[in-house]
Symmetry: C2
Subunit: 179 residues, 2 copies
């Protein structure tokens, strides 16, 4: 059996790189370099690039609501705007790319759907069987991620943070409150 620390380092490197660039744009060589091993080591430990990808799937959105009385809709938007302001990678913008680019898109789709939908449902307290409101909220957040980051609309220069949070947050909160 291979070293567990090695395995973890490789998966962490994979998660970072895949999460920024998708599947095909990242090579085994890239992951190996970031993890500090040879490409052969990555292959030996993970078996194949596809298995590395599966093991490197992102954990889903962080929805910790520590000490704020802000409505959930605004909180969700605030996180996205904060990442924009700090130039950090935007998971909501990468979801589509990670699914489309995956070695098995059907599997990736199901993984993301389950992860994102269930977490948001729990967060907004959606108890309906069809989770309609949750799905609509996920759509609007995917849209904000794609629009603000992938398309580069609503940059920090053109859309002031608090104003954007207020406006788009109200939209998301409207869905949560049942339109």
């Amino acid at each position: 059996m291979t070293d567990n620390a090695t395995r973890t380092a490789i998966i962490d490197a994979g998660r970072e790189l895949f999460g920024e660039r998708g599947y095909n744009a990242v090579t085994i060589k890239d992951v190996a370099a970031r993890a500090g091993f040879s490409p052969a080591m990555v292959m030996k430990v993970m078996g194949s690039k596809a298995e590395l990808y599966t093991a490197s799937a992102p954990p889903g959105p962080n929805l910790d609501d520590s000490g704020t009385d802000e409505p959930v809709g605004h909180q969700l938007v605030r996180r996205i705007v904060a990442r924009r302001d700090h130039g950090e990678a935007e998971p909501w913008a990468m979801v589509s790319i990670l699914i489309h680019d995956a070695p098995d898109p059907d599997v990736a789709r199901a993984t993301f759907r389950d992860r994102y939908v269930s977490r948001i449902a729990e967060r907004i307290g959606d108890g309906t069987p069809d989770l309609r409101r949750t799905k609509l909220v996920v759509c609007t957040l995917l849209g904000l991620g794609a629009g603000a980051r992938t398309l580069g609309m609503l940059g920090p220069d053109e859309a002031e943070s608090e104003e954007l949070i207020r406006q788009y947050g109200a939209l998301v909160q409207g869905i949560i409150d049942g339109v």
Copy 2:
């Protein structure tokens, strides 16, 4: 000079294939096969794969409003839902993928932004200098495309068409009307 019909056939094939699969997943061989020529012919006529891609950029959303008194927001959503119901490709879902996968993402981003933003601005009659409402509308439509098609939420089985148009359409129309 090469035959113009040949060039058109190649670009049409490119537009179809890139529009379904993005840049990297489509090979010159694929485009050549669909257009009915050899790969070498495609290269000779277009120069490079990147130039073919640029020439194959999709035209942007069709926003023809022939004879309906439905609000614009609902119309925009209706088109997306109709494509879902007919199993057609969804341009709004491909935008992110086409940008991310492009040989020059910055150029692709600017192209898409200009095309989509200006058309929607015109359609919804947004005359404000920052086009804030337009950008928010684009976000929500990108989100619906990604959510319904790339993530496979809101399939025809789980979200009835008219109900979805009513609900998400109202959301989009709310932005147009100024929240």
